[in-house]
């Protein structure tokens, strides 16, 4: 190796100065060029002074793209939740509720993140017509109580804090890639599969459905297993039950308190497969019942509020073929849920196996109040 302490022997220093100048110029050009590209294309529609072009969702990272949907004037109603609510189609609900829904459910969303999304929606739609909350295990499982209360690791708080001064995307490869896709979309050179109303079927096509694979996801093996009741049933003192902590319910209460009285509020306890529901007689069943009790208490006097519990043993949740895994039902079930939710709210549902109203048992005297304007 050369002695590099005093290098000037191989080439004239002028060559190396030109080398450095070239490198510095190219770095500067690429840096400024990429920054300007991001600022103009504005992939997440977050920059206040970018051109007012229509931007769409061009990537599966919902946390970055959905704030734009939440701000859109095209909608007056929203679905808030996790992936267990993602398959509810706005177009399947719009007519039933005379609303224009946007599905703002985020994969693995913590309750904190769900509230942040709702906050953006409310900031631009102070009087929403209908809000559907998808309530699942992140609300009541003890391990989620801490983990899912705060934001996830990659949560883009800058997009949700409603501070326009920090709405500049981070300077990174993903932002550039998203800007490039957004540019292609705006130029009409490429279309993306993500729906303009937030709905995306994230599951595989049903003709690729494999029951054996689904059973492995549900049971851990291809052989179905029965739900095993705990015998003798777990017993807990009332003090122990009282000590259960559901931090998510405090956030839910806060979310509900932000909604005007006239807004229709539908809390849907989404249907997990029966095998992963709390087993009868187990400690988690006691916790689940306590969760339902407190939820009922919370929503007892909620104006225009409905709680529909699908998370029960039912023809939906006991059929393996309805599920991709323990938490995620198929699009067929999703379509059925849309109709059941509407029927449940109307109070005309006749299949009590599917839906139980755990609070607010008022029948709606005149469905036309909200189904037909």
């Amino acid at each position: 190796m050369k002695d590099i302490r005093n290098l000037s022997i191989f080439s004239s220093s002028g060559d190396w100065k030109a080398f450095l100048r070239t490198a510095a110029c190219v770095v500067l050009i690429l840096f400024l060029g990429s920054v300007i590209f991001i600022l103009v294309v504005d992939p997440y529609a977050s920059i206040p002074f970018s051109p007012n072009w229509e931007r769409t969702t061009v990537d599966g990272d919902q946390r970055l793209f959905y704030p734009n949907l939440a701000r859109s004037a095209r909608f007056d109603s929203a679905i808030i939740g996790t992936s267990s609510g993602r398959l509810l189609r706005p177009e399947g609900l719009n007519k039933r509720f005379a609303s224009q829904f946007v599905n703002l459910c985020l994969n693995a969303a913590s309750v904190y993140e769900q509230e942040a999304m709702l906050n953006i929606f409310l900031a631009h739609h102070p009087h929403p017509r209908t809000i559907i909350f998808g309530i699942d295990h992140v609300y009541f499982k003890p391990e989620y109580d801490k983990q899912h209360i705060g934001p996830s690791e990659n949560w883009p708080e800058w997009l949700y804090d409603q501070n326009p001064l920090n709405n500049f995307p981070p300077y990174r490869l993903h932002t550039l890639t998203h800007a490039w896709h957004q540019f292609l979309s705006m130029a009409g050179l490429k279309t993306y599969k993500y729906g303009r109303d937030g709905y995306t079927d994230f599951t595989r096509p049903m003709d690729e459905y494999d029951l054996d694979r689904a059973r492995v996801k549900i049971y851990g093996t291809q052989e179905p297993k029965p739900v095993k009741a705990v015998v003798p049933p777990t017993r807990m003192s009332s003090a122990e039950i009282e000590a259960f902590k559901f931090s998510s319910l405090a956030i839910l209460a806060r979310m509900l308190s932000k909604l005007p009285d006239e807004t229709l509020k539908i809390l849907v306890l989404t249907p997990a497969h029966n095998f992963i529901q709390p087993a009868p007689g187990s400690a988690s069943a006691i916790r689940w019942q306590e969760f339902l009790r407190r939820l009922t208490e919370l929503t007892r006097n909620l104006p225009r509020g409905y709680v529909l519990n699908f998370n029960i043993p039912s023809p939906i949740t006991t059929q393996d073929a309805n599920y991709w895994d323990g938490q995620h039902y198929t699009v067929v079930v999703a379509a059925e849920l849309e109709s059941l939710i509407a029927e449940g709210v109307r109070g005309t549902i006749d299949n009590a196996n599917y839906v139980r109203l755990v609070a607010n048992k008022y029948r709606v005297l005149s469905p036309q109040n909200f189904i037909e304007k």
Partner: protein
């Protein structure tokens, strides 16, 4: 020099400011001992300093390990103390030990405090080496960075830094994405297939090399930007044709340290084979312990010792293996050592090693490992490519096309670093 010292301390504090006092105390203590030795001349003084350095590193790095094992012999269980490991402690402690021992040998002067402090804390090499000797760096502090050849040093330093960064951000991190999940599965008790263990082994060998040598390249490149030459630390170790050759190419500055301050003082090869075996095994066992406070690391070090002795005995026979065979045997030996080094427990290491030699079957199935073929593709630069220092310091010519490509790579790496920690929520695998 003052600014550079300040920048180094700020750099260290940026990682974890809690350990800045320890670094400062360590530097001041060692320098004061050197001054004291200069004044008093008692040969025990540097040794006291060495002991104090070992005590510091012992407390922070080995207290839990030693106590746990002592209590295990006693039959008691041990709840580990919550001791955070100060960043770079293994490096700055060893540099100072080498200085004190050189001082005692009469091979080092007492430097002014500023120079000494900068030598220990010089930020490019503070965190992950190379382990630089005092006389390799301190003399250069007086040189002006703007002296003749400045533009060339800046250019070559930038390119070497860039290669190191690319090794880390592109190659090492991609290999980690392959190796880490497989080792985690094995740690959880999952039996990997024959092919999966080999993918894990190859991936980890490349991850370790690109990661560590990448850091060294960055350190040497950064040093050049300031006008300093720092010794190279890696020289294509995976083309080594013997274990001895490997240790002349892998973490060269550590090998040099172990040779000069452990192996030779322990007798080296001067007193016959039994003494040499003893010296090698103690040196490599302690070398293993330096890498981490675990039996896996010690065992890995001893495994290297066995390899070095075997190498020595084989050389005595005078039989020459074909180069390709020697290379393959060396590589297999090194990789098998990594399995012990990387595994979380010894049983995990045995299971993986047994699977590697077909003990649990010859299944070529590799489940859920995306981009597994990258292991073969990424092996090419490690096996046949020129080394980064050869590329940056010898082969590089001042052509505009290289400057343009380097600038493009630099910006791309900045984008990639921006992505670090970012990942989409991809958790559906229906």
């Amino acid at each position: 020099m003052g600014w550079l010292l300040l920048a180094s301390l700020v750099f260290y504090s940026y990682w974890d400011v809690r350990f800045l006092p320890l670094l400062l105390i360590s530097v001041v203590m060692n320098w004061c001992l050197a001054r004291f030795y200069e004044a008093a001349g008692h040969p025990a003084i540097p040794l006291v300093g060495v002991m104090m350095n070992l005590l510091i590193i012992g407390i922070f790095k080995y207290a839990n390990f030693v106590t746990e094992n002592l209590l295990l012999v006693w039959g008691s269980r041990f709840e580990p103390w919550n001791i955070a490991l100060p960043l770079g402690i293994s490096f700055f402690t060893f540099q100072q030990i080498s200085y004190l021992l050189d001082l005692r040998r009469g091979q080092a002067p007492v430097y002014p405090f500023g120079q000494y402090a900068l030598y220990v804390t010089f930020f490019p090499q503070l965190i992950a080496g190379p382990i630089v000797r005092h006389n390799e760096l301190i003399d250069q502090f007086d040189l002006s960075p703007q002296r003749d050849g400045c533009a060339e040093r800046l250019s070559r330093g930038f390119i070497l830094f860039l290669i190191g960064l690319a090794k880390k951000v592109i190659l090492a991190d991609k290999m980690a994405e392959i190796a880490t999940p497989l080792f985690s599965l094995a740690a959880e008790g999952t039996h990997l297939t024959f092919a999966e263990v080999w993918v894990a082994a190859g991936g980890y060998a490349l991850q370790l090399y690109f990661d560590f040598s990448g850091y060294s390249d960055m350190a040497i490149g950064l040093g050049l930007l300031f006008g300093f030459t720092i010794p190279i630390n890696f020289n294509a170790p995976y083309i080594a044709v013997s274990v001895r050759d490997y240790w002349r190419r892998w973490h060269i500055t550590l090998s040099r340290f172990l040779r000069d301050y452990l192996y030779i003082p322990l007798g080296g090869s001067r007193f016959g084979l039994p003494r040499q075996v003893f010296a090698v095994m103690v040196t490599m066992g302690l070398g293993g312990l330096w890498h981490g406070a675990s039996w896996n690391c010690i065992l890995w070090g001893l495994w290297q010792g066995v390899g070095l002795i075997g190498n020595h005995l084989w050389q005595k026979t005078g039989i020459h293996l074909p180069r390709a065979v020697a290379w393959l045997m060396t590589l297999l030996f090194i990789i098998s050592g990594y399995m012990v080094f990387r595994s979380e427990t010894l049983p995990q290491a045995w299971t993986m090693l047994a699977t590697m030699i077909g003990w649990h079957g010859w299944s070529l199935v590799v489940n859920d490992v995306p981009h597994r073929w990258h292991v073969i593709i990424f092996a090419l630069p490690a096996l046949i490519g020129p080394t980064s220092h050869e590329l940056a310091l010898n082969k590089l010519q001042p052509r505009p096309i290289y400057a343009t490509l380097a600038a493009g790579l630099f910006i791309y790496l900045i984008w990639m670093i921006g992505d670090e920690g970012y990942s989409e929520f991809i958790y559906f695998q229906f």
